[in-house]
């Protein structure tokens, strides 16, 4: 009896030791990022310590007060928000169609959706670059270096993700509800706005938040398909390395700003990340 008891206690100690060290490993790089962002150049190149008592706010204020950086930040906010809303609307319509109608070839549609989400973004750079700069043009106006271009483009990975995430939730809404409404003479639009959207509300909220975060995080397309006007914060961050090179404090501050949304939204959506990332194949 006492043997199993002491074994249990050892088990508890092991579990906590493991998870406390895992938590430290997860947080250490992010904590170090914060520390670097709070240091002056002189402090930085002294002996590296993990303790930080002062806060050098200029690292944050300087980028935040440059017009270029303000534009990056605004662009990121506009692109991510518009894209998340657009994705949510389209995904509601699409999942409603896929869940309520037996459409021929919907298996192929699902396959194709996975492909778009899984394809290496790098393979899309050149095709899209050529299309954005040469093919889609009206006079001098092209999609290249525009926010609308990015907003539409980010549907490429966010829309498949959103459809996979919401399909299960849509299937969970009993079809009898819409049928009763149709018998009472409601239109498809009424059924969607009055029955489906309110019932799928929480799922839609999660979809919007995760799509927003993915759009905010995107780098490769933003870097290749924008030059000045539509640059986003992730491309601005990369410029710290390639262009200015050595301004580590400011680079850390910008990185920290760019990962704030992840920190803020984490607690709300972490239960759904797995479902979204595995196309609903793994549920919790």
């Amino acid at each position: 009896m006492s043997r199993t008891k002491s074994r249990n206690i050892l088990g508890w100690i092991g579990t906590y030791a493991l998870w406390i060290s895992m938590t430290l490993i997860t947080l250490l790089p992010i904590y170090w990022l914060f520390v670097v962002s709070a240091r002056t150049r002189v402090e930085l190149f002294g002996r590296p310590t993990l303790l930080q008592t002062s806060f050098y706010i200029d690292n944050y204020l300087k980028p935040l007060s440059t017009p270029a950086f303000q534009r990056y930040l605004t662009n990121s906010l506009i692109v991510a928000t518009s894209n998340a809303l657009l994705v949510a609307v389209l995904a509601v319509l699409a999942t409603y169609a896929l869940s309520r109608w037996k459409l021929g070839g919907s298996d192929s549609i699902f396959f194709w959706l996975i492909t778009n989400r899984m394809a290496p973004a790098a393979a899309f750079i050149l095709p899209l670059y050529l299309l954005f700069t040469r093919a889609f043009r009206l006079g001098d106006v092209t999609l290249y270096d525009t926010r609308i271009g990015l907003i539409l483009l980010y549907c490429l990975f966010n829309l498949p993700f959103a459809i996979w995430l919401m399909k299960g939730m849509m299937d969970g809404i009993p079809i009898e509800l819409d049928e009763a409404a149709f018998v009472d003479g409601a239109s498809t639009w009424t059924v969607l706005t009055r029955i489906i959207v309110p019932l799928a509300g929480p799922g839609i909220a999660v979809t919007v938040i995760l799509s927003w975060v993915f759009a905010w995080n995107e780098y490769l397309f933003a870097a290749s398909l924008t030059s000045v006007q539509a640059r986003t914060i992730t491309t601005g961050l990369a410029e710290f390395v390639t262009v200015t090179g050595t301004n580590w404090g400011e680079m850390a501050a910008v990185s920290f700003i760019s990962l704030l949304p992840a920190l803020i939204f984490l607690a709300f959506v972490q239960r759904y990340i797995v479902m979204g990332l595995t196309f609903g194949a793994v549920k919790e």
Binding site: I125, T188, Y219, T234, F279, A281
Partner: protein
């Protein structure tokens, strides 16, 4: 009342946007791939070269090097993450106070922008003030420098990826383990099986669907890694961390070799289609088994 036309109408906007952004570009480069086209060349105009670009691909040491490097990276990270994630998930199955806190923190890297992950790891490893080179030198006397030593840079990209994506494996495995029935394992333990036998003959076979799905998804994501490696090492030193995505970036954006870039993009896209097709078959098989 429920006409098929209505259903297709609701689906249409999605199909149109994805068709324009995801399918049309590849028909365009299918054509461009048969031309020699570099905007900074003497003419700057496309010149018909037949299948030359595709022939060049097969013998290009840069492309083949990037491919094999990417495969080595992918196999290493996927295997390490699967093993580590499975062990961590085992340690999260039982209930204990603080479990949801640990789980939430563990999921944090999944939400962070890959480019910020790269920046974070660069700040950790940069010679001069990074904590990694400082303490490795002080405690173990190791001269760690990812800007100078190819092996250090490659190993660091692997560590970074493991840090970034192991949580994904942990969470999927945890979801799978929590959904398993408890009785068969308990019965086997009562009948005298040891823990290893239970794991080997009961838990692992029952977890197969989840393990296969996770492996495929991690495989696809590891093959397309760009952002974080680009910010950490820029593909260097030399070509030691120039993975396929970074190689394409150089061909397309740095050298503006559009004809050859089209061939590379098409080939990589084709590989993706094949891999996704396998994944899709696996997923539908699993779906059938569960029904």
């Amino acid at each position: 009342m429920r006409s098929n036309r209505m259903g297709w109408g609701l689906l249409a906007p999605t199909l149109i946007i994805l068709g324009i952004m995801g399918l049309l570009p590849f028909f365009y480069v299918l054509v461009v791939g048969f031309f020699d086209w570099n905007v900074v060349s003497a003419t700057g105009k496309p010149i018909w070269t037949g299948a030359n670009n595709f022939r060049r691909l097969v013998f290009d040491p840069n492309f083949l090097g990037a491919m094999s490097r990417t495969l080595l990276f992918t196999v290493t990270v996927v295997v390490s993450e699967l093993v580590l994630g499975f062990v961590l998930a085992q340690a999260l199955v039982k209930e204990f106070p603080g479990k949801s806190f640990f789980r939430t923190i563990h999921a944090l890297p999944l939400m962070v922008a890959p480019i910020a992950v790269g920046a974070t790891w660069r700040l950790m490893t940069v010679p001069g003030f990074g904590i990694a080179p400082y303490y490795l030198d002080r405690w173990f006397g190791i001269d760690y420098n990812i800007g100078r030593y190819a092996e250090h840079a490659f190993a660091t990209t692997i560590l970074m990826d493991v840090w970034h994506w192991t949580p994904f494996v942990t969470l999927t495995m945890l979801a799978g383990l929590s959904a398993l029935p408890k009785e068969p394992m308990e019965q086997a333990l009562v009948d005298g099986a040891n823990r290893w036998q239970v794991l080997r003959h009961l838990t692992l076979p029952m977890m197969m669907p989840v393990i296969i799905t996770t492996t495929f998804i991690r495989l696809m994501d590891a093959l397309r890694v760009v952002d974080e490696v680009y910010l950490l090492t820029g593909g260097g030193p030399g070509d030691s961390t120039r993975f396929i995505g970074i190689h394409i970036w150089r061909v397309v954006m740095t050298w503006t070799d559009y004809g050859y870039g089209s061939a590379v993009s098409l080939l990589v896209y084709y590989f993706t289609l094949v891999l996704c097709w396998l994944l899709f078959i696996a997923l539908t098989q699993i779906g059938r088994q569960q029904e």
